[in-house]
Symmetry: C2
Subunit: 197 residues, 2 copies
């Protein structure tokens, strides 16, 4: 792996687990087996490094989603919704750093003044919402999903799933034990009761 990618990878991990302000460039350098000045050769400033990290995370997430949903077919919109939620939970479990980073406040604070940062975050969250919305819309067409506003409900579902993941990462509750309950609740929330099997 090139030095630059190595730096990006360790920075992602450190920013995610310890925070942006809490991580010094010297730490990143040491963990990457590189001199501090090397980081400044590849990235102009610390904020610059952070934006590269976020951009990288964004690309990876978008790729994971398009890879998973690009081919797959579902029996119904409701089935697709189930699968989307499960996939989100699977990703959150296997790429913990990404979600830890997204559950920090720094990116959103930076987004207030930095258009590029804002764009990255919007891309990521729109990717999530779009999938849920698509599932709900298709579900309404095939009759598996009840009458509701697909976009708004998709946002409510995202906040539920994202909330559970956040709780899990915060180690407050054993939120991992809630996955089955979560899927059931979301199904209940969206399902068309009249044609339930």
């Amino acid at each position: 792996m090139s030095r630059k990618k190595e730096i990006l990878k360790t920075a992602t991990l450190l920013f995610a687990t310890n925070g942006f302000k809490e991580t010094s460039m010297a730490e990143v350098a040491k963990a990457s087996n590189v001199a501090s000045a090397t980081i400044f050769y590849h990235f102009n400033t610390k904020d610059d490094l952070f934006l590269s990290v976020l951009s990288n995370v964004k690309d990876s997430i978008l790729e994971e989603f398009s890879h998973y949903f690009g081919e797959k077919k579902f029996a119904s919109g409701l089935e697709m919704l189930d699968a989307s939620v499960s996939f989100y939970l699977y990703l959150a479990g296997s790429k913990t750093e990404w979600f830890l980073l997204l559950h920090r406040y720094y990116p959103y604070k930076l987004a207030e003044e930095n258009e590029i940062c804002r764009r990255y975050l919007e891309d990521i969250y729109n990717c999530f919402v779009d999938i849920f919305e698509k599932a709900l819309s298709e579900g309404q067409s095939d009759g598996s999903v009840r009458e509701l506003s697909p976009r708004k409900t998709a946002l409510v579902i995202l906040s539920t799933v994202d909330g559970i993941v956040r709780f899990k990462n915060c180690n407050l509750y054993d939120a991992g034990a809630l996955y089955n309950e979560l899927i059931a609740c979301i199904r209940q929330m969206a399902a068309n009761q009249n044609q339930k099997q």
Copy 2:
């Protein structure tokens, strides 16, 4: 107001809006019209100040909840659930600092090594979950709520409501516009369909 309380109040606001590491003791001092050294007279260390802030927020939240739910009576468990969610949203809107603070990562990071901090956070979140759980349990008794695990479902509901509030505070979506949708979704999630009016 005593100097100590003044410091506590401005520190709450600054830690919540700018973060713990991002806020210097000098800033807190200036915003409180006090010399830096005065803060160290009242609070031994910066972490100490943070714990006092959190303790204060915890007490306030617990008091708000016991005040609101101490007297009130509800027509059914489902009605109580509605009211609980609405009250949570109302609080999040009027005491933004509290929720901004709780949506930062620092408290949870500190809780990993500091038993007292952990206890404060647990007290706060248990207060939330307990109310939702009580509403669900009572709803099952009076038949307004479907068959489900009250505790687990309460946690799912908390993650939904908390997730929405977090989105709102992060300025990503106009999550405020989702409140009606949110209440409807949660009702749909919990309601007993057989006896719906």
